[in-house]
């Protein structure tokens, strides 16, 4: 039995595309701004533009649609649910009525609008995480947050924690698997019994896992110290980020798109 085969962190899909090559900072900011707009806008036109923007983007990134759909799947139930709630609870012109349950035109349009809003939010995050590797994301977040360092915000520490977490998740997964197998070979049972019993059976897995993790953390800290690690001060970056021609072009496009959406909403 193999529990964690083909484990990949996040949902990054590696492709050689202009979107993948964009500076992660610009992608993170774009996603953030787009999400704010998606939340605030009340116009179908904005959705149309944003939808178009990301469709073109994903097409350019060469990431297959199936990955995008996979990201949407878990949220599908939520989308349908909100659609129905709005459909039946919004007062207005009745489409049809059975007993106390009635469906309204206003509900239909409101429900559709919220559903599309949710859909676009997911599309935005998918676009970001599908085309940006975890390393690039971490780098981008660190560089963006470093702006707040002056007020004492621990930007470097947060990025370091993310890196170490990313580095050790696969290692700890493997370890969990080993422990589970070892306990099963001693006759431990993780599949039967009620929830309480099953949770109790997990204890022999959790405890060694934690002890080992603390042990690892201790050794890692010593190794990092031996390699001259002393916090973020005076540190340089192996992956320097710089705005290239491509980033400038994208920056212009995104600026115009956002300006357009704002104008539509204001007028």
């Amino acid at each position: 039995m193999k529990f964690f085969r083909n484990l990949t962190i996040g949902q990054y899909v590696h492709k050689d595309s202009p979107i993948h090559k964009l500076d992660p900072r610009i992608k993170i900011l774009t996603s953030l701004l787009m999400m704010i707009l998606i939340f605030l806008t009340e116009s179908w036109w904005s959705f149309l533009i944003i939808g178009f923007f990301f469709t073109v983007n994903i097409w350019l990134s060469k990431v297959q649609i199936k990955y995008v759909l996979r990201g949407l799947k878990p949220i599908l139930v939520l989308i349908i649910l909100t659609l129905f709630i709005h459909l039946f609870t919004t007062p207005g012109e009745v489409i049809f009525q059975i007993g106390v349950i009635r469906m309204t035109w206003e509900g239909l349009s409101r429900g559709m609008f919220i559903a599309v809003r949710l859909f676009l939010l997911i599309l935005t995050t998918s676009w970001l995480t599908l085309t940006t590797s975890p390393i690039a994301l971490t780098d981008g977040i660190e560089r963006l947050l470093s702006f707040f360092k002056i007020i004492g915000f621990p930007a470097h520490e947060i990025a370091m924690m993310m890196t170490i977490a990313l580095r050790f998740i696969p290692t700890l997964m493997e370890e969990t698997e080993k422990i589970i197998k070892a306990q099963m070979s001693r006759g431990a049972d993780f599949e039967s019994g009620n929830i309480l019993k099953r949770m109790k059976n997990m204890i022999p897995i959790i405890i060694p896992l934690f002890i080992n993790a603390f042990h690892r953390a201790d050794e890692l800290a010593i190794a990092m110290e031996a390699r001259c690690y002393r916090g973020g001060e005076g540190r340089t970056h192996y992956r320097a980020l710089s705005f290239k021609y491509l980033d400038k072009v994208f920056f212009m496009i995104i600026s115009f798109t956002i300006a357009l959406i704002i104008i539509i909403n204001v007028v």
């Binding site: 580095r167 696969p170 031996a226 690690y229």
Partner: protein, 276 residues
């Protein structure tokens, strides 16, 4: 040069008993040395290793690295640049999510600029034969490969000394061989001073000099032939002789004309060929 001058180290836990893990160590390690360090469990090998780069500071005495004292907080980073250290568990030494990022970790810490960093990372990975896997992730590598990446991380810092604390004890035979080959090559071709702690006697036999620790003291030091010639003393120190030496001794005791102090397979083959 690394100099241990009357170094004693005492671990003081919160409990009442203190553990003397090193006592009155005097030692000079010269540039270009190729030294193995052996000793029974809890004889103080790891404590010794951690004193070399100032991870631990002596309770008494001084450790001097190229004129820097490890007690001196200002020079500690200079010392750690000079001394690369490799520990037993490769997993717990790799920090970054890809191989090249990890090799660059130390360089980032000491503020090397980007272009120079790229150059050094490529050079170091090439030296340990891991250049092709630079984009790979640590958890996909074998133990031997991981240790080679750890070594590359030290090399990229342009270290002059490499301390390895049982780097092969968690590896399979193939990984062990890979690491030992690299260490030999670094000493020969890059002139890096090696201090190699091991509990494999067959590995220790391949070094120019061996230091034997016992209960925090240097019990013996000398060439492998000196050390492994003293079977009775080694037994007292709970240490073995290499298999091949035992074998040679047996052959010679049974009347074959073979020197009893053979240390490596090659020597043995040579002697046996002469015999035939």
């Amino acid at each position: 040069m690394i100099k241990f001058d009357h170094v004693t180290h005492i671990y003081t836990g919160d409990r009442e008993h203190e553990i003397v893990s090193l006592s009155d160590i005097n030692l000079e390690i010269h540039d270009g040395d190729f030294i193995a360090c052996i000793g029974a469990n809890a004889s103080g090998k790891s404590t010794f290793a951690k004193h070399i780069n100032g991870l631990l500071v002596p309770s008494e005495g001084n450790v001097i690295v190229d004129d820097y004292n490890t007690r001196d907080k200002k020079s500690i980073w200079e010392i750690r640049k000079k001394i690369g250290i490799v520990f037993q568990n490769p997993d717990n030494q790799l920090v970054a999510t890809t191989i090249e990022d990890d090799v660059a970790f130390g360089l980032e810490n000491i503020g090397i600029e980007e272009a120079e960093m790229k150059r050094r990372v490529a050079w170091a990975l090439d030296l340990v034969g891991m250049a092709e896997l630079k984009d790979s992730e640590p958890h996909l590598l074998s133990g031997g490969q991981k240790q080679r990446v750890v070594i590359a991380g030290a090399l990229a810092m342009h270290t002059t000394y490499l301390v390895l604390d049982e780097p092969t004890s968690m590896l399979d035979p193939r990984g062990r061989k890979e690491v030992l080959e690299i260490v030999k090559k670094l000493n020969k071709e890059e002139d890096i001073t090696i201090i190699y702690i091991t509990h494999f006697m067959s590995e220790a036999a391949e070094f120019k000099k061996i230091i034997v620790l016992d209960k925090g003291r240097i019990a013996l030091q000398g060439t492998p032939k000196d050390i492994f010639g003293r079977i009775d003393l080694l037994k007292e120190l709970h240490l073995e002789t290499p298999q091949i030496t035992k074998f040679a001794r047996l052959l010679s005791e049974n009347g074959l004309n073979i020197p009893p102090d053979i240390l490596t397979g090659e020597e043995m083959i040579k002697e046996l060929c002469l015999y035939i």
